[in-house]
Each structure stands twice: as C-alpha cells, then as structure tokens.
Symmetry: C2
Subunit: 303 residues, 2 copies
Amino acid sequence: MTASDSSRQRAAKSIGSERAEHLAGLIMALARRDGMKAGDRLIEQRLADALDLSRAPIRLGLKALEAAGLARGEPHRGFVLTKNPTSGAAQPALAAVRRGEQVYASIAGDVLSSRLTADVTEAELMRRYDLSRAELQRLLDRIAAEGWIARLPGYGWRFAETVASPAAQAQATAFRVVIEPAAIAQPGYELSHEVIVRLRERQQRVLDGEFEKMTIGEIYQSGCDFHEEIIRGAQNPFFVEALRRVNSIRRLFAYRSFADRDGMRRHVREHLRLLDVLELRRYGDAAELMAKHLRRPLVAGLS
Amino acid sequence: MTASDSSRQRAAKSIGSERAEHLAGLIMALARRDGMKAGDRLIEQRLADALDLSRAPIRLGLKALEAAGLARGEPHRGFVLTKNPTSGAAQPALAAVRRGEQVYASIAGDVLSSRLTADVTEAELMRRYDLSRAELQRLLDRIAAEGWIARLPGYGWRFAETVASPAAQAQATAFRVVIEPAAIAQPGYELSHEVIVRLRERQQRVLDGEFEKMTIGEIYQSGCDFHEEIIRGAQNPFFVEALRRVNSIRRLFAYRSFADRDGMRRHVREHLRLLDVLELRRYGDAAELMAKHLRRPLVAGLS
DNA sequence: AATTGTTCTTTAATGCAATAATATACAATC
DNA sequence: GATTGTATATTATTGCATTAAAGAACAATT
C-alpha cells in the first residue's frame, strides 16, 4: 500500500506539469472541433470563454503547446498554430487528455461487464484502481454528474441500473426516439439560421473526409453535439438535459460498437437532410425524419 | 468569521445527537408513507432495507424515537410504534428531517428568485450560508445529483438554466406530457398486479382524508412516487431517470404553488382511474388519459 | 479597440491525524 | 426461522496546515 502510494506520487511528479499538458490537449481538441488550421491565431480570451476558464490556465496550456511544437508564441502577439490540428503531430497532445481517462474507462468497462457489483465502497475502489481519496472523489463526482452512480445514504455508492444491463443500448434508443422527434414537434420550436449554418458546415466537413482522421471518441462526440444542438431548438432545457444524460451513458458502450465507414457516411448525409428540412421550418416532417434516423440500426454508436 | 464559526460548532454539539434524530425522522416518514399505525412493529432489517442503510444507524433512530415517546422498545422484542405517525405527536420527529433542509431551501429560494448569480464559488456560498467546507460540499453534491448545479472546470459552480427561468414550470410540464404517455405506450409496457394494488391502496388512503394531515412536501412526494412507479412499467430506466430529474427540480417550486384541496381530490381520483385503465391493459387509453391528466392546470404543483 | 503581459488576490486541492459513522458477523432470544 | 443484542472491523468525515490553481485588474503593446 505504501509502495503503490509512493509510486503513484512519483509518477505524478515526474510529469513536469500534467495539468498544463492536459490544458494543451483541451485547446487542441477545441481547435480540431472548430476546424482551425495551421497559422490561425489562438486568442486567449476566446479559448477561455469556450472552455469556461480564465486566461491564466489557458496560458499554461498554450505554453505547453509551444513546448510540444504545435504552436508558436511571439511577444505581444500571442500564439499561433503551427500544425494542423488534424495532423499526426497533434496526436500526442490530444492523447494527454485521454490519459486522464484511463481509470474512468476501466471503471466503465468493469461496470459494463459486471466485474464490479452494483454497490461499492470508496475504499474498495481506491484499492482496486490504486487511487488516492482525492482522485477517486473527483472521478466519482464526475460519474455521478453523468448519472450512472449515486451515493448511498451510508457508506458507499451504487451504480445505476441504467448501465450494466445488456438492454441499455436498445433502451437508450427507445428513449431518444420519443424525446428527439417530440422536441422538434414542440410548439415553440425554432433553430436560428446561424446555428443551422454552423451545424451544416461541421457535418459537411466530416463528410468531406475529415472523419477518416477522427477518433471514435471524436466521432461520437460530434454526433452528440449535433443532436443536442437540434433538440435545443425546442427552447426547453429539460429536453436538452435528458438527451445529455442519455448520451453520456451511451458513450460508455459507444467504444464497443464498431463503426462502419459506409454507414457513417449515410448517417451524416441524414444529418444534412434533416438540417434542410429544419431550415424550411417543416417541423412535422423533420420530426418524422428524426424518428426514422434514430431507428436505423447498426450505426447505433454514432447517432 | 471566527465568531460565526465557533457558534456553528457549539450549536451542532449542543444537540446531543443530531444524526439520531434525523434518522428517527426518516423512520417516522417511512411509517407514515406506508400507512403504519400505533402498535405496529418496527423491524430493524426491514427499515434498514427500505432506507438503504444497515441496522446500526436504524437502531440509533429507533432509540431516538423512544426518547421522543413515539416508540417503545422491550428487550429482545424490538420496537413498537406507540403513536400514529399521522398524529400531532409525531410532528416534532418529522421536523428534525426538515431542519437539515433549511439551508437547502434557502439556496433554492435564492436561485429561484435570482438573488444568486448563475456562477458561484464555494467560498462565497460558505460565507453566505455560514457553512463549513464539508457541509457545503455535501450540499453541493446533492444539488448536483438533482441536476440543478454543475461544477465548472476551474473554481466554482454554475446553476443550471433549468431553474431560475420563469418558464421552468411550464417547460417541465411540456416535457412530462411527452415522456409519461410515451412510456405507457411503449411496446413492453407492463405494471404488475402487486404494484397496481399497492398504488391504488395508497391513493385511496390519501383520498379518504389522510391528505388533510399531510404536509405540502409529503403530498408532492406522494404524487411523484405515483408517477415514477407508473413510468417504471415501461421497463426502461431512462424514462424513470428523466422523470426523477424533472421531479427533483419541480420540487423547488412546488412549495410556492398553493394547493387547493378540491383540485387535489380530483387529481387523486384521476390517479385511481388511470390505475383502472392500466389494470385492463388498455395502454393506448391509459397514455391518453395520462396526457390529459398532466395538462390539467392549477394543480400543477401536485401532478 | 482588441489583445497580451504582469501582478496580486482569491479560491480550492491535498495530505494527514483524530474521530465519528456505518457495516458485518455471530450469539442470544423469542 | 426470524429478529434482536453485542462486539468488532471497516469505512468515511472533519479540521487543519500547506501548497497549487485560478481569477481579476490594469498596464503595455499592437
């Protein structure tokens, strides 16, 4: 116990500034998502707003990015991307974000395959995953926010029945088939022109081949972003929230469902068609289209 | 600051065993919910299971109950209720639960009336509500679990847009009108006979006058329980979860909407009618009935 | 006018020891 | 056979000092 304890501490310390690299990864992921290119400026305040942080941590991330050779900073002129965020050179920076996800992923895997019981104590998890209390607590808070674990009144936590059940995937779809079309059919539904344009542009970029360079995680995320933006048009946060939660649980098994590239192309094309119908304000048709879209099998991991 | 700090500590210590009284309140609330009467036995393990605790804390609660004169314990024969849980004598014990809710309630009130900004820091909240870090954190965890606050990446937390908006109540209803009937209309929908019987019995009891003795909170809770049990029949935890979250947010403004007794009677009668239709497995009709039920105005706080 | 650079303040995380709360196991009793 | 009584082991909380991280304000630069 003392052995593993100290090894963990040493490991953490040896990585110069883990946080900075993590921030660099966040910035890079954002740049990718927004389709930035080499040469684009990285404006501190804009990044800070996008990531809900202040400029101080952003600055750390930018410096780490420079140290990694992905950005260049000149006095009083800020930082500029030197590599395309989709290029191979950008990969290590992005991996830094994922590294922090490893434990999260193994817990998710263990729950999904029932290697963990529904009820667990913190002590048990600390031992099992070699985490400090603080680390574990941050993790549990996050998982709780995603809705697949909840604190028990006494000691311990309980995983939600939502996960682990083999039927979960089908249930998630069934739920979405209800709320997403219904949201579009709500009386006050409206999607601003700007949003439609932005969404179309992003989907088009994916269709134009960018998705060859995307990770499964990014592809999944892009799909979720799209649907969340669409459902937001109902002007009812309860719909948005509900979809968010389903998506964060679907993410757990998304990694398993293998993505076939052809299905994906069709999938994105459906997104574009949906945008067209929405632009014409034919909400009844759009709702139907959405229902059909969701029911399509096989690419379940990507809708 | 040191002054308020120490006063808080003194207050906490002077209450002999706050936790035990709280537990007593939980037991009493459970007894009320289940329609127990004076003379009924309070079986430790059964209570422990119902409250997701072990026997040790239950025992503390039972002793506190005895100290309050609401239960009597005899060696090797356990505890027995000596007062009806609906009687006036039971009130103080139940109040102990609510006492712990005071800060929660004031935060809720402050958010609902925009006396708090959307973004807050822990330090700010600690000062404002005179809480220790630990106390505040438990509170924030709970609120986060209920879904109306979320941690920001840096310092601080952000209240969900779901709350505070004046439209929230209408939006919550709109959302329920979508998911509740849809759940009943799901292919695999089924409500076991036992559940129907239990629900009917409980609603009947309320109709038979018990609700005169119920607090607003209990009335609200009873309504939520009913609907959650109904939606559970869809065999899809996503529906249940979604409803739970809406309900935990609706609870925040439930206290404001004044309950008229007549509307409530009609409301409960509708619950009973719904059960009849469900028992006949006429799910299409039941779904329609549910939609109408939810749309009824005025008793919005109780559906 | 927008953006970066710098400094200072505020805020929260971490590790540790002491303490409290909860869970478990098994014997005793009805 | 179910329930209670009791002892013991496990688990988590609390307070505190230290340290790290983030935010805010304003000057400097383009």
